[in-house]
């Protein structure tokens, strides 16, 4: 008997492929389609505009906290592309956080 091995073809990851992401601000959730090549900073700008939030505030995207995680998720680096995070897939939820001010 001859055993043949068939390697599964590696799916081609195109930078222009779209990712369907759920972004949650404090008060609402919305779905967004971003290219894999979109940076975190660019995604934040689109989300802030869509949620009609104050463009002059400072924002970040983070992952939701996983049950085993002891500390809160840290902000995602703004210069990285969404496609560069293995955890970000279609349907991934990201949290939009706002700094506000100290008065």
């Amino acid at each position: 008997m001859t055993l043949e091995t068939h390697a599964e073809p590696t799916p081609e990851i195109r930078p222009d492929k779209e990712l369907d992401i759920l972004i949650s601000s404090a008060d609402e959730d919305r779905e967004f389609d971003f290219k894999r090549s979109t940076t975190v900073g660019e995604a934040i700008a689109v989300a802030v505009n869509t949620f009609k939030l104050d463009p002059n505030d400072a924002y970040d995207l983070t992952f939701p906290k996983k049950p085993h995680q002891k500390k809160p998720s840290e902000p995602l680096p703004k210069d990285r592309t969404l496609g560069s995070f293995p955890e970000i897939k279609d349907g991934t939820q990201l949290i939009l956080t706002a700094r506000g001010g100290g008065v």
Binding site: S24, A98, G100, G101, G102
Partner: protein, 158 residues
């Protein structure tokens, strides 16, 4: 004396509670609430693993902002310097100490006696659009951000 009927206060409180609970789930806060006393107790874990407990009382909500106070995790005392986080700016203010923002009732007493409580949901103090922090989820999430971002969180106040 209450500024508005308790039924209206309770309606505001119960309308905003589900979203705040959703934020608690996604951001990992310990949560308890008491609908009778219109209060919440939120346990945050900061960036360095320190635990901060926020107690919020929502009487007269939203004619007035809630009374927000940190509870000392060691002694259980409210409003000690040890109970409060320290930030990169005056949001966590050592006078009081208090959360220094239009959504914090204590800030009006301790730091800004000239602010008008009635304007808290529309304030643009320090060029911040405070309307986006005028819901239970909005204000509690902002406090979370201040405890979880390395640029904003600087440990315990004392």
């Amino acid at each position: 004396m209450s500024a508005i009927p308790v039924e209206i206060v309770r309606a505001h409180f119960e309308r905003e509670l589900p979203r705040a609970l959703e934020c608690a789930r996604t951001l990992g806060w310990d949560w308890s609430d008491d609908r009778e006393s219109l209060s919440v107790r939120v346990g945050y874990t900061a960036l360095d693993g320190e635990r901060f407990i926020l107690c919020g009382t929502f009487d007269d909500y939203k004619a007035k902002p809630p009374l927000l106070e940190f509870e000392d995790p060691d002694s259980g005392q409210l409003g000690t310097m040890h109970a409060y986080p320290k930030g990169h700016d005056s949001f966590f203010h050592s006078k009081g100490p208090c959360i220094c923002a239009p959504f914090s009732r204590k800030a009006y007493k301790d730091v800004h006696p000239k602010w008008r409580c009635e304007d808290w949901t529309t304030s643009t103090e320090s060029k911040v659009r405070w309307a986006q922090f005028s819901t239970m989820a909005g204000m509690l999430s902002m406090i979370h951000t201040r405890l979880s971002h390395p640029a904003y969180y600087k440990g315990r106040m004392a």
